[in-house]
């Protein structure tokens, strides 16, 4: 067979490089075969080697990026997990405080307000004690779904303790607040169908406003908590405003 001329080899190299540019499968392998080849002119082999090095640089960068994205996603998932309740998937206490601080800051900047619902489940302990912890967990999950289904899109629902939930309602008007509170109380009072049977509970809701009644996110939480006690005193299964509580009147 006649030996390839330099031009033939350059054409092969050009074709191989074109295939790499087009991203064809095995294209880089074909290009790699031309590098260091003792069968072809040294200068052309050198050129092939330089082109192949550029390809390897690109491949290593892609590999690095891929790894960086994976690491970032893993870190994000870990952060997410650390801030969410494992049973309901809702924001946990830490994330709740973070979001509440942020919403209060925004309210201050915009001159708007923040409404906070503190929801305490009535008779949850009985379900846990009589039907078991799995039933309790299942109930918490269903409760979180009912609360979420009755809040507005921008509201933030969190589970901050055993049977304690909160809802942050940014810039809500009075009608919104009463409608959401009424729906939550009504929905929590409906039977819950669990794997272990039917559970009957209800919810007591305490409501407070920032900045009208609280000078900080912490006092907002405290006020809503006081209002929950008022709701419990009123026979549970209802909502109460902090402004109507005795402690507020004493102030």
């Amino acid at each position: 067979m006649e030996k390839d001329t330099s031009l033939d080899i350059i054409l092969r190299l050009t074709r191989a490089t074109e295939s790499v540019v087009r991203g064809e499968k095995r294209a880089v392998d074909i290009l790699t075969e031309l590098t260091d080849s003792t069968q072809i002119q040294k200068e052309i082999a050198d050129l092939a080697e330089q082109i192949n090095t550029i390809v390897v640089q690109k491949e290593i960068n892609e590999f690095r990026l891929e790894k960086m994205v994976e690491d970032l996603l893993a870190a994000q998932a870990e952060l997410n997990e650390a801030k969410h309740d494992s049973i309901t998937g809702l924001a946990n206490r830490a994330l709740f405080h973070e979001r509440l601080n942020k919403e209060c800051e925004t309210a201050e900047t915009k001159g708007s307000d923040v409404t906070l619902f503190f929801i305490d489940l009535d008779k949850f302990k009985q379900v846990n004690d009589t039907m078991g912890h799995d039933a309790g967990d299942e109930l918490l999950m269903l409760v979180s779904k009912r609360i979420q289904a009755n809040t507005r899109d921008d509201d933030i629902v969190a589970r901050i303790g055993g049977d304690e939930f909160t809802v942050i309602l940014p810039a809500a008007d009075k009608e919104d607040v009463i409608r959401v509170a009424t729906q939550i109380v009504e929905e929590l009072n409906k039977p819950f169908s669990l794997a272990a049977g039917i559970a009957y509970i209800s919810g007591s809701v305490g409501i407070s406003f920032y900045p009208a009644e609280a000078d900080s996110p912490i006092s907002l939480v405290k006020n809503a908590d006081i209002a929950v006690y008022k709701a419990k005193e009123h026979g549970r299964n209802n909502f109460q405003f902090y402004r109507d509580t005795n402690s507020n009147q004493i102030k």
């Binding site: 880089v28 075969e33 031309l34 590098t35 260091d36 003792t38 080697e49 192949n52 090095t53 390897v56």
Partner: protein
């Protein structure tokens, strides 16, 4: 060229002998693939007997790293001569792989 293999406490040591270029990278690649398929996940590539590495050789290392990634494996390089160190630097390999001064250091790194 030949590729010498030895196993040191669960760490596979690869010593490419001579040039690691187009002419012998397929053989190196096959050996590495076989080893990874048989369960090796910690690999030290010792360049103490390697005189030259081309882009073809670099691709073998990169392919090995890609195969090891889903298995949670690692590659550490060591004993690179001046030419090899320069190629590793230019190609960007040093941003992804550690290249240490001795095989002992590489084994220590992989033992962590």
């Amino acid at each position: 060229m030949s590729v010498l293999l030895s196993n040191n406490n669960g760490i596979l040591v690869i010593i490419p002998d001579g040039r690691l270029d187009t002419n012998n990278s397929p053989e190196a690649e096959k050996q590495l693939t076989d080893q990874i398929e048989s369960g090796e996940t910690k690999i030290a590539i010792d360049f103490s007997k390697t005189s030259y590495i081309s882009s073809a050789g670099l691709r073998v290392i990169l392919k090995t790293a890609k195969m090891l990634k889903p298995k949670g494996g690692t590659i550490v390089l060591c004993n690179a001569n001046e030419q090899i160190a320069e190629v590793l630097e230019i190609s960007g390999f040093l941003t992804m792989f550690k290249c240490l001064n001795s095989l002992d250091d590489a084994i220590k790194e992989l033992s962590v």
